[in-house]
Subunit: 146 residues, 2 copies
DNA sequence: ATATAACATAAACCTAACTTTAGGTCAAGT
DNA sequence: ACTTGACCTAAAGTTAGGTTTATGTTATAT
């Protein structure tokens, strides 16, 4: 059992954010003692799920729906599973996108390292050519494909 | 040489977004013919960099700064390199975060698949135990660590 | 010539996710 | 009793990144 201040420190989240989440219905089972919120294991696990679903791109209002489904019990297992499957797919695609972004950044790092050495990017303008290291060439084409 | 409508289709970006980017100073070298924007290879490559830097978490105003540096020539190679190095590190960390998120989602998928089979999550509440498949256990601990 | 499609601007509007403000309550220590 | 720190609410404010609206201009096809 934790106070809002303790949870704030545990998750490195401002107290105002936790109150905002509660207001948005993200802790539908939270209890209070003379007005003060008591965060139990339920809310702690909820917060882990909130962080996960947020990073997977889900909006607050859809996380609220999920939290409501949790109250419904076994009747919503299918819906909850489908949500996690959808977010899993989203994140898998997101990671593939980020690998491409990373390859573009690797190429640009190489580009400016070379420009700095050469004192000019004039030679680099005639790329891609055989002077490009194999790894950089791969990163370049990966990041520019489709 | 392309019109705004052609670029919009090429990048699957609304025309309004391209005009907004221009207004924010993301195409400092763009030319016009009787008021109409002409997108050349410079702006096409700029757009690729914009998408990359945006996905790496950079704000529009910082992308604007970068575009200004590009005009300065060799004097800004160092700064440009440092920016790409910083964003590369950011994205590498971001991908690691996303792997954790993915592991949480994998665990939750397994959890609800099992709950559906069992018709109840009662047995799952006593986890982690030896009934958890090795792969799921790994995902669970990875996503809950630190 | 004229219709229409694609371009232009400035300014207002929008949304999500918070954050801040102003004012008040509660619990613990001195 | 009283101060202090941690909690509370409702409502207004903030920020980023666009989008929409209203109005006007330019290019192209018939």
């Amino acid at each position: 059992m934790y106070t809002i201040g303790e949870v704030s420190k545990m998750f490195h989240l401002p107290i105002s954010t936790l109150r905002y989440y509660d207001q948005q219905g993200l802790f539908p089972m939270i209890t209070r003692k003379s007005g003060i919120r008591i965060f139990s294991d339920t809310e702690i696990e909820a917060l882990r799920v909130i962080e996960c679903l947020k990073k997977s791109g889900l909006e607050i209002k859809d996380i609220k729906s999920f939290m409501q489904w949790c109250i419904e019990g076994a009747a919503s297992y299918q819906r909850r599973l489908e949500l996690f499957q959808k977010q899993k797919k989203t994140v898998e695609e997101e990671i593939i996108q980020m690998q491409k972004v990373l390859d573009m950044l690797k190429f640009k790092c190489w580009y400016y390292e070379t420009a700095l050495k050469d004192g000019s990017e004039k030679n680099l303008k005639f790329l891609p050519n055989d002077l490009m290291p194999a790894e950089i060439k791969k990163a370049y084409f990966h990041s520019h494909e489709k």
